[in-house]
């Protein structure tokens, strides 16, 4: 399933994915700007899972050099990254 149009729907699925797949929890208990790396939430497999999720869920293509803390360290940064990629794809 991809969602390329509704920008408001970016954060909730990211939170849900991290809660379910990386925290093994029903809820995402952190703020959107909380560091996922400092909290130890993302390991090397978690990075791979997140990339796969972003590509499948939002239809964006993630390049290896884009997999960096500036884009992946929090829900807010992930959402901003998705929006930038979607905007680039439309332009």
């Amino acid at each position: 399933m991809t969602d390329k149009t509704d920008n408001h729907q970016v954060e909730p699925p990211i939170r849900d994915f991290i809660a379910t797949n990386l925290l093994y929890s029903k809820d995402f208990p952190h703020a959107d700007d909380a560091s996922l790396l400092r909290e130890g939430i993302i390991d090397s497999l978690g990075v791979v899972e997140l990339v796969s999720f972003l590509q499948t869920r939002f239809g964006v293509k993630v390049e290896q050099q884009e997999v960096r803390p500036e884009n992946f360290d929090s829900v807010a940064k992930l959402a901003a990254f998705v929006r930038r990629k979607q905007a680039q794809a439309v332009a």
Partner: protein, 336 residues
């Protein structure tokens, strides 16, 4: 503490004596074992551990086991034989290819690779490895694994690994280390010896080992030493030049793959100094100045080390177990 590039220099004779006493006290007095078994790979860590174990127990009480499989570089065996001769030990050769065939190691691994590269066919000469990005200092990318194949005519192609394929390739490859562990324990139990671990600090603390594989040992001889310190001991112990000069390799995948591209992402000369500085709490500006790096670069490496330590805690964890809950046991009924 003043930071300098000599800060990790050892007293090799003193450190050797300390490790030898540690091995003797633990293996003989605590474990009640007569000697040690060391898996030798032709690499620097197992070479140093063999030298230390021979000093601790004498060559007659040490078994050096070479355990190649069909993906191993043939030079590993020739270096292993040279090493064993250097320390007066008769080496044993245990080729684990048949055991791995029995586990379907190669088939499972290759099927996962083929889902990423359908043309990949090991029987036609394709080789493969998994790698991390090598731009930690420059870009600070995260640990995002890719698979690289080398075609029979030598061309390389790299693609990102989806989660399922990453897990299956790693799980299949880990059968190698676990087969080696089983082999080492056969030789140890048959002689009442202990299995001596060869992980250095970089491998042990950052999680570059296989739980119950090369991490499955009775005692760790050099897990407190940075890789660059292992080289210092190698020079002192007289490890053959060919091993000292060999680039550290995983020797796990069919394509040549050094430890830097697979896991550590930096030369050990840089990584070890930065890690030590991080452990000692030396301020980033002082470290950056001493290393000729920017503060941003130093912080990137500090962050990467911290992430690897945190996210691999599971590997170093003993299996948790509950204590008996005595309070819930009902009191025996009193006879009236």
């Amino acid at each position: 503490m003043h930071f300098s590039k000599r800060i990790l220099d050892l007293d090799p004779a003193g450190e050797t004596d300390r490790i030898v006493r540690f091995l003797q006290q633990n293996v003989r007095q605590k474990m009640k074992r007569h000697g040690g078994v060391v898996g030798i790979s032709g690499g620097i860590d197992s070479a140093v551990v063999l030298g230390l174990t021979v000093r601790a127990f004498g060559p007659k009480n040490v078994v050096a086991v070479m355990m190649p499989d069909k993906d191993s570089d043939p030079i590993s065996e020739s270096l292993g034989r040279e090493l064993a001769a250097c320390f007066g030990v008769e080496p044993l050769l245990e080729n684990i290819t048949n055991a791995l065939e029995g586990f379907n190691c190669y088939r499972r691994r290759d099927q996962a690779i083929q889902r990423v590269f359908p043309q990949y066919d090991a029987s036609k000469g394709y080789k493969a490895k998994i790698v991390l990005p090598q731009d930690l200092l420059e870009a600070g990318t995260l640990n995002f694994f890719s698979v690289t194949i080398i075609t029979p005519d030598g061309r390389e192609e790299t693609r990102p690994l989806p989660p399922r394929e990453l897990l299956e390739i790693v799980a299949a490859s880990n059968l190698k280390q676990r087969s080696r562990m089983s082999t080492l324990y056969f030789h140890a139990e048959a002689r009442q010896f202990a299995v001596i671990g060869t992980a250095n600090k970089n491998e042990f603390a950052q999680g570059f080992f296989v739980k119950y594989g090369d991490g499955g040992v009775d005692i760790q001889a050099i897990a407190h030493l940075f890789k660059t310190q292992v080289y210092q001991l190698a020079r002192f112990l007289g490890v053959p030049e060919g091993i000292q000069k060999r680039i550290p390799t995983t020797d796990t995948y069919s394509a040549p793959c050094d430890q830097q591209e697979f896991f550590f992402r930096l030369p050990f000369e840089t990584l070890d100094l930065l890690w030590f500085a991080k452990e000692q709490g030396i301020p980033v500006p002082e470290v950056a100045s001493g290393m000729g790096l920017s503060e941003v670069q130093v912080q990137r490496v500090f962050d990467d080390i911290g992430r690897k330590q945190r996210t691999t805690e599971f590997l170093r964890l003993s299996p948790p177990a509950l204590e008996p809950e005595t309070s819930s046991v009902p009191e025996p009924a009193m006879a009236k």
